[in-house]
């Protein structure tokens, strides 16, 4: 269940049942909880069968893009001509997101098991778990679990006596948000700057070390063992047709009960904020929420009656993203909050594309100027113009990421900008 709070609307079966239970990190306890039973099942199945179950479950990528996981796996060559690789993306660093951290630190064996099953499904011989550098305490926990799993024969040669070999290596990043973009991750893993590259070739054709590669998010892989054990129909009892299953919601900002909750997809966003998270702290009113992590369009208090699904959030004009709502109360200085967000993207731009390198920095500078009372009304037009320049013109979507919160704040809180500008032309 959720951590540090839990709620009746939660379904804790798939990911979060043992959140908060330190003993679940140990292999012997984890096995008492039924751990690695799904792996034992998987070694008796072939790649196509495993992929089929995950395809049928409708599991979608939890890293933000929501691409169907089984379909992604099916893009890998069916008849390998050399090594395949799986990369687990644990480079969680989107402002607002801290869900993968909870998986790493509470249920590391669940992630390892998910990685191995996925590796079998894509015929990978080696799994690399790329963890963000800052997550030292959680990397330590993961490392201990990996060593335990190796010693017990769950990883390595001849897994569970099946004749199947698979290695797993934990690899630590060093503070680059862009290493969470899948091609950036691959550039970083092989020993380079974490610079994204143009696709095609897609990772399934040419990924790390020039070989077919699949990159999956931590939460995606952690959902796989239960799907394999219980079946796709069981998984589909939660969520909607297009957004099946459960999702970790990591909620932050001005909430009574911030934290991570595992919820069936589809609960109205309003209920997540007001019921699950106990509403706005100190009895204040809600001003805005950035619902899916800092790269999504903000919603106002009157726009919260949308279903918390991929399609529902899109209809509301925003995005599910990583399901990481950042909630702002009525006293929030929107310009300042968006300036903080823009500074993040300016800081994390890899610098390859001119629009992104220059544009994100200018957005931050202009917002700062407005915030300090030195803005002009023309600055608002310049910001809109920058939104145009930053959309769809770059190798990756980092530049687009700053546009969603910025443009929505200009559209929905223009009065806040104008009040700070004070009519100066």
């Amino acid at each position: 269940m959720g951590y540090p709070y839990s709620h009746d609307l939660e379904v804790g079966t798939i990911l979060s049942r043992h959140f908060g239970d330190e003993s679940a990190r140990r292999l012997n306890v984890w096995q008492e909880y039924g751990g690695y039973a799904a792996l034992a099942k998987a070694v008796g199945m072939d790649a196509t069968q495993i992929t089929g179950i995950v395809k049928d479950s409708g599991l979608r990528g939890r890293g933000g893009a929501g691409f169907p996981t089984g379909l992604k796996w099916s893009f890998m060559p069916q008849e390998p001509t050399g090594p395949h690789y799986l990369c687990c993306n644990a480079d969680e660093s989107e402002p607002g997101a801290f869900k993968d951290r909870e998986i790493l630190r509470w249920v590391p064996h669940l992630l390892i098991e998910g990685c191995l099953i996925a590796a079998r499904a894509i015929r990978a011989e080696h799994v690399y778990i790329y963890v963000r550098g800052e997550y030292f305490p959680y990397t330590r926990i993961l490392n201990d679990a990996v060593v335990e799993a190796y010693e017990a024969g769950f990883i390595g040669p001849d897994i569970l006596g099946s004749g199947w070999d698979c290695e797993l290596t934990v690899h630590i990043g060093a503070g680059a948000y862009i290493a969470g973009e899948e091609t950036g991750l691959m550039s970083s893993l092989v020993g380079g700057r974490a610079e994204p590259r143009v696709k095609p070739p897609f990772p399934a054709q040419s990924g790390v070390f020039g070989r077919p590669t699949t990159v999956n998010n931590v939460e995606t892989l952690a959902a796989v063992p239960m799907i394999l054990s219980e079946g796709s129909a069981w998984y589909r009892q939660w969520g909607t047709e297009r957004s099946p299953g459960t999702k970790l919601w990591c909620c932050s900002g001005h909430l009574e009960r911030p934290g991570t909750y595992e919820l069936p997809l589809g609960i109205p966003l309003r209920d997540i904020i007001y019921d699950v998270c106990g509403g706005i702290r100190n009895g204040k009113k809600l001003k805005a929420v950035i619902p899916g992590g800092s790269s999504t369009a903000l919603l106002t208090a009157s726009e919260l009656d949308c279903a918390s699904t991929y399609e529902g959030m899109q209809e509301a004009g925003s995005s599910l993203g990583t399901a990481s709502p950042i909630v702002m109360d009525e006293d929030t200085n929107i310009v300042r909050a968006i300036r903080r967000t823009a500074e993040f993207y300016a800081h994390e731009s890899c610098g390859q594309c001119v629009q992104c390198r220059e544009g994100t920095a200018w957005v931050a500078k202009i917002l700062h100027r407005i915030e300090m009372g030195d803005g002009r009304l023309a600055d608002i037009d310049t910001l809109y113009d920058l939104c145009e320049q930053l959309t769809g013109r770059t190798i990756c979507v980092l530049a687009d990421s700053v546009v969603f919160p910025l443009r929505s704040s200009l559209d929905k809180f223009r009065a806040d900008y104008e009040a700070l500008i004070g009519g100066r032309a």
């Binding site: 969680e92 660093s93 989107e94 402002p95 607002g96 997101a97 801290f98 951290r101 778990i129 963890v131 963000r132 550098g133 800052e134 997550y135 030292f136 305490p137 990397t139 993961l142 490392n143 990996v146 060593v147 190796y150 990883i155 290695e167 797993l168 290596t169 934990v170 690899h171 630590i172 990043g173 060093a174 503070g175 680059a176 893993l189 092989v190 020993g191 380079g192 974490a194 070390f209 990591c250 932050s252 900002g253 001005h254 911030p258 934290g259 991570t260 950035i290 800092s294 990481s324 950042i326 702002m328 929030t332 300042r336 909050a337 903080r340 967000t341 500074e343 993040f344 800081h347 994390e348």
Partner: protein, 185 residues
């Protein structure tokens, strides 16, 4: 003394730590050679051991010096210019020696909303430092950090390889006292 490290996790050792084991020659003692060999063994191309070895240099020395980069370059058959271009891309590799306790206060959007800037100011005041500069006794350096990934526990503060959560200006003293008490471990 060589700590036994499983090859699967040799590329994921915490590298911002208080207790340093300085060395002028990274790969000339048993530990250094062990780390290098194990890391290389995990990848089909030894260039992939570059980030792990830069991290190792920092774990030993507290920063990644030009000499360390040179040694890493030699060990992995890379040019020093290439190693430098990679090392400078990543913010967590310190390019200069830093304080024994590197205090990073998250002031990104979620922590900002919950008072991250006030916590940052309180750390500066309590340590008598200015942002990013080491205190005179070499104990502290305080800086702002972008999102640390603990947004539900604002304000999040990272000190070396540890996290402190729900920090407020009022609890800054407690955090510093714990650092003193634990000696950074």
């Amino acid at each position: 003394m060589t700590r036994k490290i499983h090859p699967a996790v040799v590329s994921a050792q915490p590298f911002q730590v208080a207790n340093l084991r300085p060395t002028d020659r990274l790969f000339e003692d048993e530990e250094g050679r062990d780390r290098l060999e194990k890391a290389i063994s995990r990848y089909p191309d030894k260039r992939a051991a570059l980030l792990p070895m830069l991290a190792y240099a920092q774990e030993r020395n507290g920063w990644v010096s030009p000499e360390s980069m040179q040694q890493v370059a030699e060990a992995l058959d890379l040019t020093p210019a290439y190693v430098n271009s990679v090392a400078t891309f990543y913010t967590m590799y310190n390019k200069h020696p830093t304080g024994r306790h590197m205090i990073q206060v998250c002031t990104c959007v979620a922590c900002h909303l919950c008072g991250g800037e006030e916590v940052f100011e309180a750390f500066l005041e309590a340590t008598g430092t200015v942002p990013g500069a080491m205190s005179e006794d070499g104990k502290y350096v305080v800086m702002e950090a972008e999102c640390l990934g603990a947004c539900g526990f604002a304000t999040a503060v990272q000190v070396n390889d540890r996290y402190f959560e729900n920090v407020t200006p009022e609890t800054v003293g407690e955090v510093l006292a714990r650092l003193e008490q634990d000696g950074g471990e």
